[in-house]
């Protein structure tokens, strides 16, 4: 078996792994029951799915002789930004009460998203 063939198989395997985890992420988003649990599927399974697809792209580039490390950057930026969007979505979920309510913070503290600040409007009830 030549390096070319090994590389081709490696690319195929990475593509399959990536596709599998992306599919599982989509299934999770579809079938889990409330907003907070639904958030778990894309944040976790998505990173792995995209990670494996980028790994396939990198291996493919090296096999065809034009090495590239750009995918590493995509991965790094994705891993840094994905938690932040998940964080924002969970804060929205806390406000919309679309999941079981979070416990109160201990010792006279509040969760920072629930802190009342000057200039906050009176809370408006969501239409059912």
């Amino acid at each position: 078996m030549t390096w070319d063939e090994i590389g081709t198989y490696a690319v195929a395997i990475f593509l399959l792994i990536g596709a599998f985890f992306t599919l599982v992420g989509a299934i999770g988003l579809f079938r889990l029951s409330d907003a907070m649990t639904r958030l778990h599927a894309p944040t976790k399974v998505g990173t792995m799915g995209i990670g494996a697809l980028l790994l396939a792209s990198m291996t493919g580039a090296f096999v065809s002789g034009v090495g590239s490390f750009h995918e590493l950057l995509i991965m790094a930026f994705l891993f840094v930004t994905a938690p932040i969007s998940a964080n924002f979505m969970s804060k929205v979920n806390i406000h919309k009460k679309s999941s079981i309510a979070p416990p109160n913070a201990p010792d006279d503290q509040t969760w920072s998203t629930l802190v009342k600040r000057d200039g906050d409007e009176a809370p408006v009830d969501e239409p059912a």
Partner: protein, 166 residues
């Protein structure tokens, strides 16, 4: 000598990181671009130092790399676990839970790395920080024993982060 070094590199790890990112962005490696990356790595931290006054003074790069490898491994394991849960466990048997993690670390940088790690690993998403920054609100997808998850986060990640940001 040390003062000049500190003035030129207010944050040596960031200088290194910026230079490496610049090099990866290029299509091909060349010494000219390496030098330019280094110059950018000096100018950007210098120019933004004013807006980042309380940056962590001690930062152990070696331990951070070991931490990143540990987290990468955990992400792979976590993905397989979460995929298994998503594909096989009916909704009625899922035990989602909120977990409160009291924090020992205080630096904002360390807390954000911890929160990011929690979101990327085993069935947990960090949702919010308490108003005084003393505890973290975490949501777990399937938590038969919430205390065990809290202890694992504290021992596995927070203890290591405490040694990285000194």
């Amino acid at each position: 000598m040390k003062r000049i070094f500190n003035w030129l590199f207010p944050h040596p790890a960031m200088t290194l990181l910026l230079a490496i990112v610049w090099l990866i962005l290029q299509k091909e490696f060349s010494y000219g671009m390496a030098l330019f990356g280094l110059i950018l790595g000096i100018i950007i931290p210098r120019a933004t130092a004013v807006w980042w006054p309380d940056r962590p003074q001690g930062f152990r790069l070696g331990r951070m790399l070991a931490y990143i490898i540990l987290v990468m491994w955990d992400i792979v394991v976590a993905n397989i676990q979460v995929a298994w849960i998503v594909l096989t466990r009916p909704n009625s048997k899922l035990r989602p839970a909120w977990i409160i993690v009291p924090l020992d670390i205080r630096q904002p940088e360390a807390i954000s790395v911890l929160a990011g790690t929690i979101t990327l690993t085993p069935g947990t998403v960090s949702a919010d920080l308490s108003s005084t920054g003393e505890c973290l609100l975490v949501h777990a997808l399937d938590a038969p024993d919430p205390d065990a998850i809290r202890d694992e986060i504290k021992q596995r990640y927070e203890a290591r982060l405490k040694e990285i940001f000194v």
